[in-house]
Amino acid sequence: MRELSYIERYENKITTIDYFAVDFDEKNIILNNEKLPLGYISNCIANLPKKFATNLLIHSGKINRHWQELKLNGYSRKLFMDIFADINKMIDYMQSLEPFKYFDIEKSRTTVSKLFGKDALDDYEYLLKHLKINYGRTERNEIARLEEIENKSKTAENVLRAYSYIGVDTANFDTMIINYVENFIKEDSRQKDNIAKFTCEFFENEEVQMNLAASNPAAMIMDGFNLKPIQSAVPTIKIENGKYKIIRRMYFSRMMDFFVTEFFEALSQGHYIWKCGVCNKYFLMTTAHKQLYCSTVNKEYGVPCSYVAKHPEITKRKMKKQKKSDSPYYVLWNRRYSSIRQNKSLGKYSKAVSSKAKKIIDMKFERAQFDFDYAENNYEDEMNLEKIYEEAMKE
């Protein structure tokens, strides 16, 4: 029986691939202690290369066949050994893929080993031999043991189900998200109300619904994309920098439920996915700014796509102009600049400190314009307002 707890602690959570807790913290999700902006997972799925999605489908398909066989013929040692080997192969494949690499891979392996390893098989065989519990005669310890094995077998079935769904869920969600984005990029406004309006129209559209249903590669036997994700939400306490914080923890047992929940939570916060006009990859937007090209480095040219877009000799056509003020690095600089000015006028910091802080953010912003590694990995961290003031007061 699950222990009754009124409120959960941040530290006590599991994030295995089959059953996992995800914390939702304002505009981020925390997956296995990794803080990611809402929408990040959806973006990963949108950018998942077709080859990988297909391989995942093949791995998942194998496990699904094992599940069907289990339902049809019941337990056999060979079947469970095959399941154990195939799930491990699937985990091997998933462990380097975004977004699955953020799950607790080692813990997932341990769970699978506990449920499908040699000891577990001995237990299941023991249970099969002593299926009938005679409550009058069977010893109390024996009853407890048999009940424990029975629970384990049920969990094993749930885990098997979860792995068999991953491939299909990823493929279906991928189809949905790509369709959604391809239509959304035709919109002019990226404000929250327009995102909501577009989302409503998109999912109410019968043609879209039919296309999504038809695209489900296993429509007859498995549920495809659905807008009613199942999750249990638990209030959770997190202590961050010595301060208590209440966050929402959601438990999922199926990948599609997690994908859909994360996607709609992202939309509700004004996060959405856009398509880069240069490399055609999808990128996550967390503001309504009209960024047209991604700011990650384009592997072919070694510079961000937004830089490539300014060179028609490379793109072979004149690209739509992206305003400087729509660059994410500028947006962050501008936010910090406004805060520095505001703090100065409120008298929180002296003129000298404010001027030094302004110089510091200018330097960091300028560096981000040509040091792409710095821009992608350190710029956001270094633009933390507290750190900037600390630096300004040191000098």
Binding site: Y301, V303, P304, S306, Y307, K310, H311, R367, Q369
Partner: protein
Amino acid sequence: MQNENLHMYQLGYEPNRLDDFNDYFIQYLKTNDSKYFNEFLHFYEPILNRKAAEFIKCNHIEEYRLPDLKQIFVSLLWDELQRYSADEKLPLLQIMKYKTHKAWLEYVRTDCGITKIESKNAHNNLRKVTSLYFKMKDTKPFDEILKEISKQLHISENTVIEYIEAALATKYSGNRESFEIEDITASEDIVFNNYKSKQIKEAIQSLSTIERKLLELTTGINFDTFETTEKLSYNKTALLLGMTESAVQKKRKRILKKLKQMLKNS
């Protein structure tokens, strides 16, 4: 006898290859042992041979002049080494690049039969004629220039013509001290001429990060170490800095103007 006690050019001596050529100069300054200078020459000779051969090919002079060019380099290097300090950020070979070009061109002008300038006086006259010629060449016709120079310097018009021909053939521009050599541009020239001065370092430091980067990419000079790197075209620079080509051109012009102004005022 231990190998390290042997001297260069003694039997059994094996020169030690240091990681960086500049390390030989640093070691020489520390120990005052000329073996480091000799060892440097030993390892640098193939490069020097190649550079001298390229210079000969470019300037259409006779191949037998190669040892002369090498000798000029060695004596210049020795002189510079005496003035060089271990704290200097700029590697000595970098300084030598500019000075060697200058000296080799001087050699072509004075010794390679373009004109016979054997005396010190004649050499001084060449400088004066060239300087005057470049001052007047855009404002006056050639005949007038000839007459005026001849009158001012008390030399015949034919000699003036000879000097001007020599200067033009060797791309020498008199007192301006600038050489239009393909791999040394005007901006590089400013830097090399002033590398020791505090002013240029301060002027460059006062530029914004992006301005400095733009100048670094288009001139191929790293302004932290004053080492030269690959010089990029405006188009490539524009791509790296997220600008258009014309924006790079305009910005570069503005930066150079700003630098010149700062150097003038300092």
